[in-house]
Symmetry: C2
Subunit: 297 residues, 2 copies
């Protein structure tokens, strides 16, 4: 299959939550025919009103789509929609492209790719970073694992959702890259929380401290974007604590399988576990600051 | 004392290592008369050739300077040059300005400020970030603790060395701010090392991974500037491991005194301790990557 003509290409979305809905909207606006399925239909209503077509199951959606994009919650959800008896793999017509954009397990991505190949299907793992804002603005970073040829076929489609679409290697490599991303964030978040808590405890004005340090060697996206929210006590979710914990669990499991010691990641997982126990699961990841601003040594 | 006329103002530098020499050069080029003292005279020769005047002791330098700037190694060195019987505090004429730009203990900075006040001297703590390059280019970030009036008098002088000179609060606040800076870097460095090691272990191309992740939420100065050196095996010192360990020791002590728990900083200190034991003391801080790329869980 060569380049796809949007007008004659049906793209099915499984999962129309905050991320999936924004992404499906970009695809639809680029002229593709979009079908949608979501566990709770209410979250798909806006897209349906804009012209998307509803399917009652992921299987029926897969049977009528040339490209199936999945953006669901947890690896268990990914496994279910792909491997269920009447799921995506069983229902898709030969030649269909399957793109899992959920942040999920590299090992599961490899299994999906193998199963897809056996059935004459093309699978890519393509998790994203950039959050709800990146999804809304179509500026996601899309990290792709799979065959180069398959990515080239889908590049125009993926390009409607992201400004950066990079092939990272064979199946699973997109997920591995996303894990590297989350690992860098995990320990980095601890550093930012500790630095701000230290500044407060030393009776400094943290905003003035940021003025001195954000532009130098201590600078980071987290320091520039999340530290101000931490200081303002704004713990509303950009990225949910519960989802970050999911990602860290995958990363820890995957690192262990690769024989890599990740004490910083393990510490972050432990601290976020404490935050979740303290009722922070539905807050944004910047809420980790609560642990440091609240407690004493 | 109001604004200082460079031509009639003698500025003494105690400590003309890599950082101090570059900083003294900027001051000299701005037209100030510069005197220098350093433990080993050889490191001051270049400055002497450019017109600086040599003093045989920190005390004699202090006695002949309107402003004394110290840029030495460890808090013990700071304590010695200030508090020795014939040191800076004992030798400076009333009205002299004392500026410690060494990264040192906030508690020591407060003690120097108290002792200075008792003798009719003006003291500021003013550690910097930006490294040897920032010193060479005069683009340091200078974090100041002390009296606002004293800083305003010295602002033109400090402005020759840094592009950003920010008053952070009373005596000790400059050092506290520098500690916040180092604390943010410490855990962040672990995250970057773990992310890169994970990428390697997962058989990804780490440079391609950086392409996907450096511009997003995982982005940081460390990831953009030190990760490429880590991957190239370039562990030459920009900032020495031994100096970072010194800073982390101060930060841990200071955090404990403030009653703050800093598990990320403690982990970084432990890992850098292992690196130093493995012979990494004289390498740059990015050498932490060696621990992660070499070992298995």
């Amino acid at each position: 299959m060569g380049a796809m003509d949007p007008a004659s290409t049906v793209v099915g979305f499984v999962g129309t939550g905050v991320m999936g809905a924004s992404m499906a909207r970009h695809v639809m606006r680029a002229g593709y025919a979009v079908r949608v399925y979501n566990r709770s239909r209410s979250k798909a209503e806006a897209l349906l009103a804009e012209g998307a077509t509803w399917d009652d199951t992921a299987g029926s959606l897969a049977a009528s789509s040339a490209v199936v994009i999945t953006m669901v919650g947890y690896p268990a959800d990914v496994e279910a929609v792909y491997f269920a008896p009447e799921g995506i793999l069983a229902s898709a017509k030969p030649g269909t492209y399957l793109v899992d954009m959920t942040t999920s397990s590299p090992e599961l991505a490899s299994r999906i790719a193998r199963a897809a190949r056996e059935r004459g299907l093309h699978a890519l793992d393509a998790p994203v970073s950039g959050g709800d804002r990146g999804a809304r603005e179509g500026t996601l970073s899309i990290m792709v694992g799979g065959e180069a040829e398959d990515l080239e076929t889908l590049r125009p489609l993926l390009g409607t959702m992201g400004k950066q679409v990079v092939l990272q290697g064979p199946a699973g490599s997109g997920q591995h890259t996303k894990m590297a991303n989350q690992i860098a964030i995990a320990a980095g978040m601890i550093g930012v929380c500790e630095a701000l808590a230290y500044a407060q405890r030393a009776s400094l004005d943290p905003d003035t401290v940021l003025q001195s340090i954000a532009g130098g060697a201590a600078g980071s996206w987290t320091l520039s974007n999340l530290a101000p929210r931490m200081l303002a006590g704004d713990f509303r979710p950009g990225f949910y604590v519960k989802h970050f914990i999911k990602d860290m669990n995958i990363a820890l499991e995957s690192a262990a399988a690769l024989g890599l010691s990740t004490p910083g990641l393990a510490l972050a997982r432990e601290l976020y576990g404490q935050l979740a126990e303290a009722g922070g699961e539905e807050q944004g990841t910047q809420a980790l600051f609560r642990l440091f601003s609240d407690r004493r040594a």
